[in-house]
Symmetry: C2
Subunit: 295 residues, 2 copies
């Protein structure tokens, strides 16, 4: 196991434990809601987003307790988006990472409400009295902006449009920057916030934005390339599903080799963004690790 795999796994365990505690309810008149929430939230995974929050908090000597809460809030928002994206009226997916999707198990009404609940309770977590108000308020602004009309939801609207028409390269970049990039950027910036870094002109803030945006885009390029040439095992879904569904991807504009070069270049830029900071090693190793998925 690589050092970064070890680190990811240790952090994932801490995050999983906290998400479990945040959503555990001993008694309720509607246990199905909590089962449904926990079914999707506690389904394992690498927890890349809250890992980024914790890693940037460590890089800049932030408050790790605050970083863990904010990272968990972000992961709850990420999970809500997966539940709603899978709904019959959206992508209509029955499986996610080999498991039945939320609405298949709990029915559509409960799945809609479980998504609503995760989105709502993320803000309960981020506004808890244990987080100083002068960190909570900008953190919530960041979360809501990343998840809202000009972030994730906007990206999903472009993605839905892409089902009917071919996107141009600019629209593809905008779609990814919003649909997945916005939350990845927020994850890194929440780590900065936990260290009291709130000024967009701060060199550390700007480094986090640059790292996040390059990493997020590299991740999408690798994902598209894997869909075209990777193994089903590495991908967790059937090969070629993007092409079959007629979706615009990076492979609509470049060859698999060019995509790999593009992802390598973006990864290099992500690492370069942190060049000023000696403790950047885990974040650089993460970028290399995500790139290595595509080999």
């Amino acid at each position: 196991m690589l050092p970064i795999e070890q680190l990811l796994s240790e952090h994932a365990e801490i995050i999983e434990k906290r998400l479990d505690a945040l959503t555990s309810v001993s008694d309720s008149d509607y246990p199905a809601l909590f089962s449904s929430v926990r079914y999707s939230l506690l389904s394992g995974g690498k927890r890349i987003r809250p890992f980024l929050t914790l890693a940037f908090s460590e890089l800049f000597d932030g408050d790790e307790t605050v970083a863990l809460e904010l990272g968990c809030a972000l992961e709850m928002i990420h999970t809500y988006s997966l539940i709603h994206d899978d709904l019959p009226c959206m992508d209509d997916d029955d499986l996610r990472r080999g498991k039945a999707t939320n609405h298949i198990v709990y029915g559509e009404a409960t799945a809609v409400l479980a998504g609503d609940a995760l989105l709502t309770e993320a803000f309960t977590v981020a506004s808890a009295p244990s987080i100083p108000a002068e960190i909570a308020a900008p953190a919530i602004r960041l979360l809501a902006h990343a998840a809202g009309c000009f972030g994730m939801i906007g990206g999903q609207m472009i993605d839905l449009r892409g089902e009917d028409e071919r996107l141009d390269f600019e629209a593809l970049l905008e779609m990814h920057a919003k649909k997945t990039g916005a939350l990845i950027r927020a994850a890194c910036l929440l780590g900065c916030l936990s260290a009291g870094i709130t000024d967009p002109d701060d060199v550390r803030y700007q480094a986090a934005v640059s790292y996040a945006d390059n990493l997020g885009l590299a991740f999408q390029v690798i994902d598209d390339r894997l869909d075209a040439v990777g193994s089903e095992e590495a991908l967790g879904k059937p090969i070629g599903s993007d092409r079959e569904s007629g979706k615009t991807t990076f492979l609509s504009f470049m060859s698999p080799e060019q995509a790999l070069d593009y992802a390598r270049d973006l990864t290099e830029q992500a690492k370069q963004a942190l060049a000023l900071f000696p403790a950047r090693t885990p974040l650089c190793e993460l970028a290399d690790y995500l790139l290595a998925r595509s080999h």
Copy 2:
């Protein structure tokens, strides 16, 4: 026009104007999202919830600019809940107040996302830099709690259960306290927050809770009574629709006359809760006005 009708109408105009400004976007790659959000949000109505926020802010000499922002955030959450409640997988309603519901006009995918967007952007509004962080953080905690698993979403879960089985009186009370009562209570408490009142032991805080809970319950009793004996015009939906759908209502437990007495009693208690405060007149008139709907 009664003084309270005049006051409601004046406040509704201010609130409508602010909601318009908060959601107006000059240029976007996905105009349907904003149209869909604004279709449901700017559909008029009495704006009782943000009125309550403004009225409690005035009662306790709060900051009215802060109260308007928080009241608008709450109204956005209320509107999201209506859009999601109307979805085919929930109540499957084609009409609301005589207008086609959001998913009928914009399709299910956009309606789900418009609801998600309103919920998310409510927290953008409540965390705006114009609101002091020491008010924003508890306000967001209040909003998220009222809208979440132990508030509105919990109430909707009980309501869905009520479609399959008869609720007992206690469950009916819990359903209403959560499904609609929680947001009404939050509306009043946000007004208190805008005046710096955050301590649950403060007599003003407790008065707001008691007023809100009695008013909210009276409103539901009146609504159920109207459904059984009122005119279609006053109700905005066909008479007897609750009985036809087999829903448990207050009329499952009492006669229309008993329901009226119950609502009168609750209204009296709401007004009594504010007895200490000389400037309570508009809030008392509102309670009487809502009761008068049932005659």
